[in-house]
């Protein structure tokens, strides 16, 4: 029983500290700065903003909607 209580309260403390630490780390390392730049990490030169990357197998590439440059201001 003592073991279980120790585990529960122990992990409660460890997780609490971990959460606060993670948040503090995020603030310190600039994760909340330049947030619009962060949203573009999904894209690269080969798969840039404005290009679709998935289609049904029976839809040829040239029939996809035209690429748009909306939001491509980076």
């Amino acid at each position: 029983m003592t073991l279980i209580y120790g585990l529960i309260w122990g992990s409660w403390v460890v997780f609490g500290i971990a959460t606060v630490w993670a948040f503090a780390w995020a603030v310190r390392s600039g994760q909340f700065r330049q947030v619009s730049k962060g949203s573009k990490v999904l894209f690269d030169e080969d798969e840039p903003v404005g290009e679709m990357t998935d289609a049904f197998p029976d839809v040829p590439d040239d029939q996809l909607p035209d690429p748009d440059n909306e939001g491509n201001d980076g």
Binding site: I4, V35, S39, V41, F43, T53, F56
Partner: protein, 478 residues
């Protein structure tokens, strides 16, 4: 933007190398997931049919409702959704960190043992060895194995993160990291407290619903949202509408979701303040839910026509919209005035499936449509079959939810009236239970179509066929 010809080639090559590293562990997890999906589907159909036709398969103890239904729940949760979810998680983390998947052999071993553990747990339930604790029916020794295996998944996540080649931590990674650290704590704490001597009586029920609600809330929801935050922008080729809102959504979910589980016990014999905490937390969940809904919607605005062209986008957008719907419904259901009608009725079953199916399962389908061709180097074999999969599961889910929600509400209203005989209530729900079985049949058809598509792709991969059909989008020749 640099020397674009070489940059282009470099980006494509590095993406291919990362996908190649994910190939064996992720394909194994997803293929296992599909096996459990079919297994759980058969159990689901049997359970559903028994509710209106109790004679159905009634003369075998292991096929009775009390065993088939928990076996369905556990194969879907720990087999289909968890294994496929781990596959999606490993792939997303590698992609977002731009490093190869680490511990590949260990992860495959985890997949193999995980399958045997789920099988052993399911056999135990069907043989009458269920623990009778909802969502934790597997015998404790099976739970111990699953908990231990998860340490490897955690280690792989930490290694991926530490080795990352990208400075910025994308919002999906926050969600995935949350899932990877929250779930083992939840699973181990839940099992220890409930199967140990830590909680008995109403305390056990409280721990039970803290656990059950959080399996959806802090294990499947973060994986589903991480996938939506990756695939919606990635498929349509447009960054998320408000990145700031997405971070706010993550941190508020982390803060509130864990408290909401006790709303399952409203009106029960537990301290009133424990119930009220659950209700307040459920209301606070409006913050992360509305931020996610606004964000996904505003990202999609002007791009809804692309739903016609992309299977991934269809399933993921269906799932993301269902997330909003299920969360709003859940918050409202937590209100005492609503709960006094809906509690102990089919309404709750409809709600649970809106979460685990319309949201989580549909997002997992969408993710697999994107990930598997990139891992196997094979294109899906049939567009019409993918569309059939979407419409059977989508319409089946809508029918399931509408039928049981209405039927459950009527059932709840009748249950509150002491002048109505119980058998009358049972008879009133029959048409709605039939609609549930019909919906289950539709969804089952979709699952078998999907399993065929996945099986065919893996067959072509294993026998080295079908490479010529790979479109340029997936790295094939122009």
């Amino acid at each position: 933007m640099g020397d674009s010809e070489t940059d282009l080639e470099r980006d494509a090559q590095s993406r291919k190398a990362i996908d190649a590293s994910a190939r064996l562990p992720v394909v194994f997890m997803m293929a296992s997931g599909v096996f459990w999906l079919l297994f759980g589907t058969v159990l689901a159909f049997i359970a559903s049919f028994k509710l209106h036709s109790p004679w159905f398969l009634a003369d075998q103890a292991w096929l009775t409702f009390g065993r088939v239904r928990p076996a369905h729940l556990n194969t879907m949760i720990y087999g289909w959704a968890s294994m496929t979810g781990i596959g999606v998680l490993l792939w997303l983390q590698a992609r977002l960190s731009r490093v190869r998947v680490p511990l590949r052999k260990s992860l495959i071993a985890v997949g193999v043992v995980w399958n045997f553990a789920v099988l052993a747990g399911t056999v135990a339930i069907l043989a009458g060895g269920s623990t009778s604790v909802e969502w934790l029916e597997f015998p404790p020794w099976v739970a111990a194995i699953l908990g231990a295996l998860f340490v490897v998944v955690m280690a792989a996540s930490v290694l991926t993160f530490v080795r990352r080649n990208v400075e910025h931590v994308y919002v999906s990674q926050w969600y995935l990291f949350g899932a990877v650290f929250w779930f083992p704590f939840l699973y181990i704490a839940g099992n220890l407290v409930i199967h140990g001597t830590g909680a008995s009586g109403v305390a056990e029920a409280t721990a039970n619903w803290w656990y059950a609600h959080n399996v959806l809330g802090i294990w499947f929801t973060p994986i589903g949202l991480a996938a939506a935050y990756y695939f919606i922008p990635k498929v349509i080729g447009r960054p998320i509408h408000s990145y700031y809102l997405s971070l706010l959504g993550f941190w508020t979910l982390a803060l509130f979701y864990n408290w909401a589980g006790t709303h399952h016990l409203i009106g029960g014999p537990i301290p009133l303040w424990v119930q009220t905490v659950g209700i307040v937390a459920s209301m606070m969940m409006f913050i992360p839910v509305i931020t996610v809904a606004i964000n996904h919607h505003m990202t999609m605005v002007g791009h809804f026509d692309k739903l016609e062209y992309s299977p991934t986008l269809r399933f993921i957008v269906f799932g993301a919209m269902s997330y909003t719907l299920v969360s709003v419904q859940g918050s409202l259901t937590a209100l005492r005035v609503v709960n006094e009608t809906t509690h102990f009725t089919h309404y709750t079953i409809a709600h649970a499936h809106l979460g685990m199916y319309a949201f989580v399962t549909m997002v997992l389908f969408g993710s697999m449509y994107y990930i598997l061709p990139r891992l196997t180097g094979r294109e899906w074999s049939s567009g019409p079959l993918i569309r059939a999969h979407f419409w059977t599961t989508g319409l089946g889910m809508v029918l399931y939810w509408v039928g049981l929600t209405i039927g459950g509400w009527i059932q709840g209203q009748m249950l509150k009236n002491p002048d109505i005989a119980f058998i009358e209530i049972v008879q009133t729900t029959l048409p709605y239970l039939w609609s549930r079985s019909f919906a289950a049949a539709l969804m089952s058809v979709g699952h078998f179509i999907f399993a065929y598509l996945v099986g065919r792709m893996l067959y072509e991969w294993a026998t080295d066929r079908g490479k010529d059909r790979l479109p340029p989008m997936l790295g094939g020749d122009q």
